[in-house]
Symmetry: C2
Subunit: 139 residues, 2 copies
């Protein structure tokens, strides 16, 4: 069967990523582009995740985010190798620290547990400015 | 059980990505960082994939690659949500077009079929300069 590539609407894209758990953050690091997986949640329409203070991801992002307009990409997908079908969504937007302690406490309640454990007290929020998605199915 | 985060050696990382099929390319596009999934093969120690001439990925990458030192990141992972274990590998290096027709023919034989179909005649090769990997397991 022929593959059919179709664009997803923003609403479909947001619905799909609300149900997923792992995404990949992409940003410009000190030595060029960086892409790393993190577990995340969608909170009030924004992507939120935690990284360790002192980790390479944390340090590089921290340096970048010091610029309030620091742009990042966040990609989520679900792809089935056997059937070669699946979907992917990319969010582009500015990344910010969550500095407010009350807000951090609220996010902890949501349960953004970093799977890798350790002291991961650095919350990052990505407010989407562009949401794009695509799906490959078999026609 | 406590999560244990460990670094992978370059040899372990390369062995893992030889057996996977889908990776995410990250690069600086016209409007900021971009992360998109592609199916790939490892050929002579380099990541090789195809994109469509005329696609957004193709166009943005083409513009960037015009600079011979255009750096990209390529991330591959295998993560099990239920057990919260898995591994990820990131390759950083320069991306190049494969322009030579003989080389393109050789790559077609390797079977780098773009799952999304269509006219995808733009071969891209990433020669790793940095390979880093990590694994989360339960101790």
């Amino acid at each position: 069967m022929e593959p059919i590539l179709e664009e997803l609407t923003e609403a479909e894209s947001l619905r799909l990523i609300e149900q997923a758990e792992i995404g990949r953050i992409g940003f410009s690091g000190r030595y060029g582009p960086v892409v790393l997986p993190v577990n995340y949640k969608i909170v009030d329409g924004a992507v939120v995740f935690r990284t360790a203070v002192g980790s390479p991801l944390g340090e590089d992002l921290r340096t970048g985010i010091a610029d309030a307009e620091y742009k990042v990409a966040f990609e989520i997908d679900e792809i089935d190798s056997a059937s070669r079908t699946g979907w992917s969504v990319m969010i582009q937007g500015a990344a910010h620290h969550v500095d407010d302690e009350q807000e951090q406490a609220a996010l902890r309640v949501v349960g953004i547990e970093p799977w890798a454990g350790g002291e991961r007290e650095h919350f990052v929020r990505i407010k989407p400015t562009v949401v794009s998605g695509r799906r490959i199915r078999r026609g």
